[in-house]
């Protein structure tokens, strides 16, 4: 299939991204312009690698689950040989939705409109009344497919572009953060099988992407819950924190909390507990990892934003789905670690408390996103400032730019990559 998208504003001059995106500030119209949103769909969402779903959501042959990238309705399937496919939910005949169920198991999909039937690989295998097409029953039609699909530790990504960088090239330094998450499973496997919350958000998707590794906001946005629960999270994002904000390249970024946890040197502190309370897990990790277990148990899980739509926040995974310049959906779930039943129920319970429409953390982030969206519609001042920590950035031993826990290093990395993509040839 061709994944090209109709240019929505061919007659309008293209925005000058070099002017709108500067090293220390970005223009407010980037969050409000529907023209820019249409260009983002073409140049980011339908071109670069985007997160689609997790292999653990379709464990068995024939399993399928509905997914989305922006406004695109997708079906992620597993074929009889175990291969993963991402189909566009559209009949090749009259463009009806082929699949209405959120998930299930089936070798084929039958369009309800005229009965056209497709294998779960997208291949057209039949249609009623073949005489109407004068041939031998074969038609050169199929469901649309995301042309490039690849996965890393079960995280399935797709690119609507037939050519381009590989997933490994796209992930770059961020791959190591997914490694760190998978390593926390005694079996080395992450599972995302706890179901998803869907949070409708009247804000531009980039406000979310920027906020995910903004270490400046937690003390203010989340002070209500930190003060009530005596949460140690606040200290991780204080001005005195030894944590760092790292630009991982390609728009990816992280809040690296390991320096803080190393200072304490307490296994499972990252999880808000002690090793005595999860003895079986700790024992299994030591069995699997030997001496290396200590470091793994002390350093914990990553806090990483993978451009443009996957956010792993220690024990939660978020997926950002943009719908328009002013609206998006946050999908969120709890991380589940294969072989760690002691942790898994706690992760579900903690995640329910924290994320989604009623979450004691995310409801307040979302309130900020929505007020921010109203704010960027104001005429003056036109710019959003990105200077925090610019004067004290350093380059670490891996050659990556880092700032302190509260610096805007991650946002600057996001915008640099965004600009590269938006300025690329159509």
């Amino acid at each position: 299939m061709t994944a090209t998208v109709r240019g929505t504003a061919a007659s309008m001059p293209r925005p000058d991204y070099a002017t709108l995106i500067q090293s220390d500030r970005v223009h407010g119209s980037l969050y409000t312009s529907e023209q820019i949103f249409a260009e983002e769909l073409e140049r980011i969402w339908y071109r670069t690698w985007v997160y689609i779903g997790h292999a653990s959501e379709v464990p068995e042959p024939g399993d399928y689950v509905r997914k989305s990238v922006g406004p695109q309705d997708l079906i992620m399937t597993r074929d009889r040989d175990g291969g993963l496919h991402v189909l566009l939910n559209r009949c090749a005949h009259r463009a009806n939705l082929v699949c209405e169920d959120a998930r299930g198991n089936s070798k084929s999909f039958r369009c309800p409109y005229h009965g056209w039937t497709y294998r779960n690989t997208g291949e057209l295998i039949g249609y009623p009344y073949r005489q109407g097409y004068e041939g031998n029953g074969k038609l050169d039609l199929a469901m649309g497919r995301v042309p490039r699909v690849d996965s890393y530790h079960g995280f399935v990504f797709g690119s609507f572009a037939a050519d381009g960088p590989t997933l490994a090239e796209h992930l770059g330094a961020a791959a190591g953060e997914i490694d760190r998450l998978a390593r926390l499973s005694p079996d080395g496997q992450v599972q995302l099988n706890a179901g998803w919350l869907k949070h409708r958000t009247r804000a531009n998707w980039k406000l979310l992407a920027e906020n995910e590794t903004d270490g400046y906001h937690p003390q203010f946005v989340h002070s209500s819950i930190f003060s009530v629960t005596g949460s140690p999270i606040a200290a991780l994002y204080s001005d005195k924190s030894s944590a760092v904000t790292r630009n991982l390249g390609n728009g990816h970024s992280e809040n690296d909390l390991r320096p803080e946890f190393r200072n304490f040197g307490e296994p499972m502190r990252w999880f808000g507990t002690t090793q005595a309370r999860v003895p079986d897990y700790v024992a299994r990790m030591r069995e699997v990892h030997g001496e290396a277990a200590e470091q793994i148990l002390v350093e914990g899980a990553p806090h990483v934003m993978i451009f443009p739509n996957l956010f792993i926040a220690e024990i939660q995974v978020f997926v950002i789905q943009p719908l328009s310049a002013g609206e998006c959906i946050q999908h969120s779930t709890a991380v589940q670690l294969k072989g760690a039943p002691e942790l898994n129920k706690r992760m579900v319970s903690q995640s329910i408390g924290s994320v989604g429409p009623a979450g004691m953390l995310l409801a307040d982030d979302t309130e900020m996103y929505e007020r921010n969206q109203r704010g960027v519609a104001m005429l003056q001042p036109e710019w959003l400032d990105l200077r925090r920590g610019l004067h004290r950035e350093r380059v670490d031993e891996r050659g990556l730019t880092i700032g302190t826990a509260t610096d805007e290093t991650a946002m600057r990395g996001f915008w640099s990559h965004y600009r590269t993509l938006m300025e690329a040839a159509a």
Partner: protein, 198 residues
């Protein structure tokens, strides 16, 4: 409706309790609302479906008594931004039905009541729905009701609607809320922020 006759609590008392609970929630009277709950309370808003195990699947809200307390403490700080300022709320409760109640001497629950909605097969511990004896108290009365709720805040007006299942228990002569499950009609769709008490 015969089920009313078999309940220790009569429908009028039950309705008055539900209306009061609704008013406390609408008016953000957190202290009064909190006082309605039993010590083993459970407050559940499923995501997508209620035929799941909420200890292993995500829910919008799944609060035990301790987490209800945390949620209310957060609201009381005045810095829970998603409720500061608080949403303006009014809800209507209707179609109140006693789904099962304590059996008075010589009476039997009608089959119709038992075969109607089976309220909650997924209460932790897997208890069978219906009348049951709980450690600290007496029998529970299971009540179902529909609601519609208008929420206004700067973001706009939202209409919320759904089916609520309550488990009521008489403690020291007063009705208490042991369990409240709110199954939103649109629970399988993306939901806006739900930071008030639903």
């Amino acid at each position: 409706m015969t089920a009313v006759a078999v309940s220790e609590l009569d429908l009028r008392q039950i309705e008055q309790f539900l209306y009061r609970e609704a008013r406390y929630a609408d008016e953000h009277d957190y202290d009064a609302w909190e006082a309605l709950w039993t010590d083993d309370a459970l407050y559940w808003v499923p995501a997508g479906a209620d035929a799941v195990d909420p200890t292993s699947q995500m829910s919008v809200i799944y609060d035990n008594r301790s987490r209800i307390s945390t949620r209310l403490k957060q609201l009381r700080t005045g810095k829970r931004h998603s409720q500061s300022p608080p949403s303006s709320l009014r809800r209507v409760i209707s179609n109140v039905e006693v789904l099962s109640g304590e059996v008075l001497s010589g009476e039997v629950l009608s089959g119709e009541v038992l075969s109607g909605e089976v309220p909650d097969g997924q209460v932790p511990g897997g208890e069978v729905p219906g009348v049951e004896m709980r450690g600290g108290g007496g029998a529970e009365t299971i009540v179902g009701a529909n609601f519609m709720l208008a929420e206004s805040r700067a973001r706009g007006t939202e209409i919320w609607a759904g089916r609520t299942t309550y488990r009521l228990r008489v403690v020291d002569g007063e009705i208490r809320l042991a369990y409240k499950k709110v199954l939103l009609v649109n629970c399988d769709q993306p939901l806006p922020t739900l930071a008030f008490l639903i």
